[in-house]
């Protein structure tokens, strides 16, 4: 499970897109819970990349369904670097 500060940083980036005002949790999904379309997700991915100064490869994206998945992926990449 990802660190709290990683999750908080990602929550902050998602907040402006959280149109339904749901409570953000690691289990929240982008498609069903947040109802983000693929174009919005693309912009969000770019913001996360820039925030953490990493690359989230396109190949990885289909597996990242929840906020927790993304946070784990971010930490895996930052730790590797």
């Amino acid at each position: 499970m990802a660190q709290a500060d990683t999750l908080e940083t990602i929550y902050a980036l998602i907040a402006p897109l959280n149109k339904k005002g749901i409570t953000l949790k690691p289990e929240s999904t982008f498609a069903s819970d947040l109802e983000l379309d693929s174009l919005t997700v693309m912009d969000l991915v770019a913001d996360i990349e820039d925030e953490f100064d990493i690359i989230l490869p396109l190949n990885l994206l289909p597996d990242l369904e929840t906020i927790g998945h993304v946070a784990d992926a971010v930490e895996k990449i930052t730790n590797k670097g």
Binding site: D37, A46, I54, I55, P57, L58
Partner: protein, 399 residues
């Protein structure tokens, strides 16, 4: 479990569109009267959405060459390029294209889609990076899925966004930057000079897809890189015969000394039948023709500018500030109005492409018009008039 159940949302979406009599998936061209006119549902229709930019589909020399090739070589090769499917004509076409681009090597593929699919999936290996624009054509995305490289995406035409990502990649890794000269949906040009200079600074190999710019961009019609004078920064050009060349097929050219090895390792090149001799012959004649077609190029640009200015003056919302290519994209606020507009315009006798997300960037809904060098300025004026009439009928507010 019916495997087709997963498509139900798409079926429902299509059924929800307010089409009355026809829709874009039902359009059948019953007669092709010329490069610019057809009969659709019994109506005489101006074609303004066929990507036939240079109007080479009825180019006499191409037709004559194709007929002769049919008589001399038959209807098809029935084989792969690497088995029995390479005829003299295929080699001659490759030489013609290499000469056209002033490069050493050329490979001809059976479609433009396969040219991108093959080049990008083969060049980008498992330890390499492929860097693509977010608005890339489906063939580029599919190439990324087929290949094993790590795929990095940057915001459309955003040089700073691209550089930030290049900076994060290992300095010594293999990197392939893939961009298009003209993007097919909005018809906007890439800032190729700056992009290629930045890419080279970070050690990228560069591939430029000139599918929608070949024929009319640049003095000789080689594309946007020629127009901007940056061809020396391009390692691979990919292009198609299904637009300005007026038939079907694709190609890649390069000066790389090891280029020909791709014929042994590029699966979309190998595991498909080669193009029929008649297609090869007409493509060769059309490319020879395009070289000499300065007048067609000039008229095509005049048409694009006339259409852009005319629609802009009427208050239509256009995707680009000025005509950057032969594609003029008109934005319509939503899918309901868009479907009505498209159908009404067809009934007025103008065929354009209706384009909806996700094929379009940023969720926009488009009437995508592509002009042809063989459109007369009177036809362009008629298209503009019918856009205006259609807007009035369906209630599209103009600025």
């Amino acid at each position: 479990m019916d495997l087709f159940d997963k498509f139900d949302p798409i079926v429902d979406l299509r059924a929800s569109l307010p089409f009355k009599n026809t829709d874009p998936f039902k359009v059948v061209m019953d007669k092709i009267l010329s490069e610019t006119e057809a009969v659709i549902e019994g109506r005489h229709t101006i074609l303004a959405g066929t990507n036939n930019y240079m109007g080479m589909t009825f180019y006499q020399e191409a037709i004559d060459a194709a007929k002769k090739a049919l008589d001399d070589f038959g209807t098809g090769t029935t084989g792969s390029r690497v088995l029995n499917g390479t005829y003299g004509g295929h080699k001659a076409l490759e030489a013609t294209i290499a000469d056209f681009y002033g490069m050493d090597h050329c490979m001809v593929f059976s479609t433009g889609y396969q040219a991108n699919l093959g080049m990008i999936s083969t060049l980008g290996g498992k330890d390499d990076f492929v860097i693509i624009d977010a608005d890339s054509h489906a063939s580029i995305y599919d190439a990324c899925s087929l290949g094993n490289a790590t795929v990095v995406r940057f915001k459309h035409n955003d040089i700073e966004h691209m550089e930030k990502r290049l900076k994060r990649l290992p300095a010594d890794a293999g990197k392939l930057l893939v961009v298009e000269g003209i993007y097919s949906m909005l018809g906007d040009a890439a800032p190729l000079k700056e992009m290629l200079e930045v890419a080279k600074k970070y050690g990228c190999t560069t591939l430029v897809d000139e599918a929608h710019s070949m024929g009319f961009c640049g003095k000789n019609g080689r594309g946007v890189a020629e127009a901007l004078g940056v061809e020396h920064l391009v390692d691979f050009f990919v292009g198609t015969f299904s637009k300005s060349v007026g038939t079907v097929g694709g190609f890649a050219v390069s000066n790389h000394p090891k280029f020909d090895v791709l014929r042994f390792v590029c699966r979309p090149y190998i595991f498909t039948a080669s193009l029929p001799p008649s297609v090869i012959a007409s493509a060769t004649a059309a490319i020879e023709g395009i070289k000499r077609s300065g007048n067609r190029r000039a008229h095509l640009w005049a048409n694009a500018n006339q259409l852009h200015n005319g629609l802009k003056d009427l208050g239509f919302h256009l995707a680009t500030q000025k005509a950057e290519s032969a594609i003029i994209a008109v934005q319509v606020p939503d899918v309901q109005l868009g479907t009505k507009f498209w159908e009404q315009l067809l009934e007025e006798g103008v065929y354009v492409n209706m384009a909806a997300p996700p094929a379009t960037p940023a969720g926009v809904f488009l009437m995508r018009v592509s002009v042809c060098a063989q459109h007369t300025s009177e036809q362009i004026e008629t298209i503009i008039d019918r856009f205006k009439r259609t807007a009035d009928i369906v209630g599209l507010n103009l600025k």
